[in-house]
């Protein structure tokens, strides 16, 4: 370990340290504080907002916001909806993304770079606009309806928007690059001779895949799944643009609780319980990730 900048070390470490404590850690602590202790929070900027909600909810005890959330099936259902959306779309992204990543990684070097650029372009294109694109496509007068009618599958346009299938489609579409790129990163490092070796030794293609390719790409699978699953749990934009009233999701509930109901304590309690729920997958993913990275070295 080299001793760089003996005097400047202090600023090198403490500028970002201080920034993150101030603008990341303290705000999170503040959410926690607001979610459990409302009575101290009657300052002028809040008072008028609070009086709106105080009619409906009591804030006598410190845990009342949490009790309120977990006694109302409405909130629990939205949690479960978000978790099931995240789970379904992670699996779908993996099933769709794996073969793409595999074949891109296995292509010849000059074709591979072009394909990689083609994979990165949607990743760079605005997220909001990619979701909007599906809103345009799925319209009653949209192109998918026209094609299906033209092919004779439909006789008249059906509404494909505003249901949870549209949400799953939107999520899979926008998060697919997050799955493909880490998978590609692991598959491209992988020695193709191993496949030939397995084949030469008489392994069936299925076994080559299950016993050679899959275990070696497992860290990529975990990284990709983490990058899809965790943000999708808090996803707000896609359900708002493509979803309907058939299923409500966690992100939308926080948003509405804050902006529509103006109930900041309940919104904070929801956010805190969201963090608690996400701690599990984050820790599991990171432990597995660390284990496999360690194994490879």
């Amino acid at each position: 370990m080299i001793r760089y900048f003996k005097k400047q070390n202090f600023w090198f470490v403490f500028t970002p340290y201080f920034w993150l404590v101030l603008f990341f850690f303290i705000p999170l602590a503040l959410i926690f504080k607001i979610s459990i202790s409302v009575s101290e929070w009657g300052m002028p900027p809040y008072r008028d907002l609070f009086s709106l909600s105080e009619e409906g909810f009591k804030f006598d005890s410190t845990l009342s916001n949490y009790l309120f959330i977990f006694s109302d099936p409405f909130y629990i259902r939205s949690y479960l909806n978000s978790l099931s959306l995240a789970f379904t779309s992670t699996i779908l992204c993996l099933v769709i993304g794996y073969p793409i990543a595999f074949y891109v990684a296995k292509s010849q070097a000059n074709i591979r770079i072009i394909l990689l650029v083609l994979l990165i372009i949607p990743f760079w294109t605005s997220f909001l606009l990619r979701v909007y694109a599906w809103k345009v496509l799925l319209q009653g007068s949209g192109i998918i309806n026209s094609i299906l009618i033209h092919l004779g599958f439909l006789t008249e346009p059906i509404s494909m928007l505003h249901n949870h299938y549209a949400v799953i489609l939107g999520v899979v579409y926008t998060y697919l690059p997050f799955m493909i790129l880490p998978l590609y990163g692991y598959l491209v490092k992988f020695d193709l001779n191993l496949i030939d070796a397995a084949n030469d030794l008489g392994a069936k293609p299925v076994n080559t895949f299950l016993k050679v390719i899959l275990p070696l790409s497992l860290p990529g699978i975990i990284a990709g799944s983490m990058l899809v699953f965790i943000p999708v749990v808090g996803e707000f934009v896609i359900p708002e643009m493509l979803g309907g009233s058939d299923k409500l999701y966690f992100g939308k509930i926080i948003w509405d609780e804050f902006f529509v109901n103006r109930d900041w304590p309940v919104a904070s309690a929801l956010a805190m319980s969201g963090i608690v729920i996400l701690v599990f997958p984050i820790v599991i993913f990171q432990l597995m990730y660390a284990k496999y990275n360690f194994k490879n070295e």
Binding site: F24, V117, K135, G274
Partner: protein
Amino acid sequence: MQNTILRMNKLFFKIFTLVLGFSFLYFPILTLIAYSFNDNKRVMVWKGFSFRWYKELFQNEQILEAFYISIKIASLSATFATIMGVMIGFSLTRISKIPARPFFIFLSSSPLVMPEIILGLSLLLFFISSNHIIGFPSSKGQLTVLISHITFSVAFVAVIIQSRLSSYDKNIEEAAQDLGTIPNMIFWKITAPVILPSIISGWLLAFTLSLDDLVVASFTTGPGANTLPIVVFSKVRLGLSPEVNALSAIIMLIVVSAAISVYFVNRSNIKK
């Protein structure tokens, strides 16, 4: 013979997968671009080719102002985030004595996985209470959006820099030190050139993250700080907007030209 058929099958399956996969990725974007030239207020009913929506887009003061604000915030945010991201990456890989090191690691990696909605909510509540206690920030606006964007971008830049710094051979630095090079010189002559590509890609990622962010900006924005995603979202939340189609086409054009130039820069580098 059987081998050839097997190989043909494999090749067919490969091409089939790639064509299907890339069509899925590109079909929606390309349709949007095609319909941006549609001379009809009803987005999906084709009437004729025209640049009408591009003209209206460039006359739309609200979108133009939002675009300007977004670019300004994104470039400032990317610059500050890159400086601090380099500091973090450097601290974690090269400086051993950091007080509460695990806490520092937690702070610099958690924004990566924190859902935007929770980040936005926490920052808004923080800005309001700090305004109440010390009077800063005096109001929500471009400054609060900028601070928020720096905060979540730092983590992404730090990861990129960190992985580069930990993967390259530290012995070069140590050799330079043994040869009596001043630590400052080691940084500028050896470490900085090695991590420069990572610094550039970190800056670009931070820029894109800021330009793309809707949720955190919606929470922390105030009067006079409507960023492009906020304006676009308000336009398309309930319906379709032909101007947004035109905007998508322009953004795609920028992204594709950036990608092509990166491709050619890399290719000429490889040739060297």
